[in-house]
Amino acid sequence: MQISLTVNGEQRELEVTPYTRLLDLLREELGLTGVKEGCGKGECGACTVIMNGELTASCLVPAPQADQAEIITVEGLGTKDDLHPIQESFVEAGAVQCGYCIPGMVLAGKRLLDENPQPTEKEVRYGLSGNICRCTGYAKIIDAVMLAADKLAVKGSDSSD
């Protein structure tokens, strides 16, 4: 069957089967390999995308349910030369070890800061609670999201000047 969705701002028409997961669609059809498969059962958060504004485990979405959806993957945030402030903060805080969880962590961080621009550490932990870091590098990942909050706050006050 055919579905129509927006991925990172681009409108797409795709032929899918019910047993194609959104994860497979993004990785294999669209080449967005920033979306990772960890557990495949919604427990690790490596496949996190933002779907219609909310964090979603793309391994648990049958592709037909993504019809008319708006999807953001890590590729939609910034480019290598023009990083999103959250990505920049992950680099600066040294939050990346093996890297596998990072796209999901970055998106969870973004979703959190969109709703709550000045979170407490506890709120950051809650916002990232659906994402597992197998290297157990949580402390620096939390630092990175806190740092991103500060960066975005400064940026916000700059533009309002």
């Binding site: 495949g40 059962k41 919604g42 485990a57 979405v61 037909p64 349910q65």
Partner: protein, 304 residues
Amino acid sequence: MIRKSPMKQEDRQTISGTDFKEYFQPQSLKEALDIKAEYGDRIQVAAGSTDLLVANYEKLHEIENWLDLDKLDELRRIEVKASKLHLGAMVSHLKLMKSEVVKDKLAVLAAAAEDVGSPQIRSRGTIGGNICTSSPAGDLLAPLLSYEASFKLESAAGERIVAAEKFFTGPKRNLMEADELLTEIIIPLTENEREGAWIKVGRRKALVISTLTLSVVLEFEGKKIVKAGIAMGSVAPTPIRLGEVEAMLIGKKLAELDYQKLGQEVKARINPIDDLRGTKEYREDVAVDVMVRALNEVEGKVSS
């Protein structure tokens, strides 16, 4: 001696691409009910899919026929009608925990919704899915029993309303007929002060299947308890309501209750099993503690 581990040939299922027969994504409930009437239990219903895709991991292609309710926005409403709250079966956990009316009138249900899985699960998983999966560990189920919820089951032939307490018949089993869909959850509201507590015990704070859950909802006239809903998950083959313990509270004030003794009464009425989330003994001991904790929490919330 150097030992080589044998090469493991992962026996992944091959996917042919033509295995499934029908995928229905109806635009109206009526259409969905007609399809369910025709296919009965030969069709897989998909709501938020967060249980479905776990249960069918790497064998999704084996599902022959799909009935996807995703387009049925008419099942995503939250409405108050004639002092009852009506929740559409496709309301997500996220919507439930953020809804002002749910937080205000059914605080225990809102708190339970907030404890389901993770943000990634709550955005897709639905209340109707939690009910129809009928796991004894389903987080919303004990609160639904406490609030005396009833479920509207619709079929092409008509509808019936079933009390939550009667609905669950065993682990992952319920009394739904093959032609029926759960469409609405109906919860009576009250003018009385209603306070409650929700306790989920698990090995982590997020993404955990409950070792045990307790939901306590007490209704007060003045200081006197006039109604009680005490229910638990993961301590019996179905979520259970503890009517005999409730009866010990009715007509009393909180100050007249012996919390520790009530905890023992709870323990005496549950029938947990040993599993990888906890032993029978652990669950029995913890049941006492969470009952005491819940009553203390309620005490802290009641207006003086």
